[in-house]
């Protein structure tokens, strides 16, 4: 295994290339599938294997920008990227992240930053995971009722539908999402998610994805693709700013990106074979795992937390790959039987 070790000149350490490829592939699969950056997998994984923390954060952001380009291109060809919606949210997110950073500075002056932020993080992750899981279970209950009764049950307007009714011009038709709302809605949702992401010290993909679904009303796949577009922009900014500060090991980022490019394509193509609510269920499980990991860190159990998050990332990637392989086999079988029936009909006609 030592023959795969390379010297990383910026971080000043030796690191195993296969490990960089594994981390990159794992986070690429999860990122392409859920529409997230995956910093909460990469940063602790690099750190426990010897990367100094500032270099782990900077290197992750650098590779995240490149990886998100791969996923966003694929998602856009699938028709899952709403550029207008993404651009509107970026305006809000940029301002939100700056406001969040200033709030953190203020909390730091009051001596409350450490104690408050981690607790908010745990509560927030728990609430997001719970809501997404509740949404999935409600959907399954509605489906069971529909199968039993044969007619759909009347539903109240959800949060997104109520927000769409707010008529503050200009009203925009976001075609890829199939949403018509005031432009201020995505700008304000971007602002809110930017503040939260900045306070928590994360990229925000796992906050924006559910926000796009539940507050803006995007279909799940469009939320995944549009979120990746934003991750691409924030990743590029993060790569630049950390690069200027000298905290990016470019060689490590390049190796991770090779793995992430493969993983991102696999994760992105897997969404083709999985229904939106199944993506939400796995997303909820991932969020709960992240919540437990942060709780372990809060209890000063750093190593178990990092090992748990890396193992969970690998297991979730394997689940996604299994769904992908099953989907490809099903698609090929369907194509073969369709071709055979066409041939049979042609032969019978003769």
């Amino acid at each position: 295994m030592d023959m795969f070790n390379i010297y990383l000149p910026i971080a000043g350490i030796e690191f195993n290339v296969l490990l960089l490829l594994l981390i990159g592939t794992t986070v690429g699969i999860c990122g392409g599938f859920f529409g997230i950056g995956g910093a909460w997998i990469v940063t602790p994984a690099l750190n426990i294997f010897g990367f100094p923390m500032p270099y782990a954060i900077g290197t992750d952001l650098a590779h995240m920008g490149g990886k998100s380009i791969v996923s966003t291109i694929r998602h856009s060809k699938f028709g899952n990227v709403d550029l207008a919606l993404g651009a509107s949210m970026i305006l809000g997110t940029t301002v939100g992240m700056e406001l969040g950073a200033r709030l953190v500075m203020h909390l730091e002056k009051l001596g409350l930053a450490e104690s408050v932020i981690r607790k908010i993080y745990i509560i927030f992750l728990f609430l997001i995971g719970s809501y997404v899981l509740y949404d999935y279970l409600s959907h399954m209950a509605r489906q069971r009722k529909l199968r039993a009764v044969g007619a759909p049950t009347p539903q109240r307007a959800n949060i997104a539908q109520r927000l769409h009714r707010i008529n503050i011009p200009p009203m925009i038709n976001f075609r890829a999402s199939g949403v018509r709302c005031s432009i201020w809605l995505p700008v304000l949702v971007g602002l809110l998610t930017g503040v939260i992401a900045s306070v928590l010290g994360v990229g925000g993909g796992f906050i924006r994805m559910p926000a796009l679904i539940y507050l803006i009303g995007c279909p799940t796949l469009v939320a995944v693709g549009t979120d990746l577009f934003e991750v691409m922009i924030t990743g590029a900014y993060g790569a630049f700013t950390y690069g200027v500060k000298g905290r990016v090991d470019l060689l490590a980022a390049m190796w991770m990106l090779i793995g992430a490019a493969v993983g991102a394509q696999l994760g992105t193509v897997a969404v083709k074979y999985v229904r939106g609510y199944s993506i939400r269920l796995l997303f909820a499980v991932t969020i709960f795992i992240a919540c437990i990991s942060v709780l372990l860190k809060q209890l000063d159990l750093q190593l178990p937390s990092s090992i748990m998050i890396l193992t969970a990332g690998v297991v979730i990637s394997l689940v996604i790959i299994v769904w992908l392989v099953k989907g490809v086999i099903r698609e090929r079988a369907a194509t073969r039987s369709a071709n055979q029936s066409v041939l049979k009909t042609g032969t019978e006609r003769r």
Binding site: I10, F78, P219, T220, I233, G243, V244, I258, V269
Partner: protein, 111 residues
Amino acid sequence: MRRKMRRWRLSSASFYMRWIVLLSLVLVVFLPLLAAAGGGKPATKVYNVADTRSMQPGLAKWIAGVYNGSPWMYGLTVVLVMSGMGLVLGFGMDRLLKLLGINLGKLAHHE
């Protein structure tokens, strides 16, 4: 047939052009704007120097050279290399998946 090929080529070219223009806008317009949006007095920067004394000539030594040369150049190099690799790997992986026979057309959105 020729018209269809021409239309496909033009639409593919305009699709790629859109991405190149968008990424260029990000690099040229957004990055300096976002960097300038950072408020407050900057902290004292601690910038390490990469040790190239025992390194063999190659990619790693070149990266270390750029890193030691100029922080701004290094930052720009990181963004350009990551974006360039992302684009090349993205389109390359697309071709590979098409060769494997996976249908990569537009998706219907099923919840």
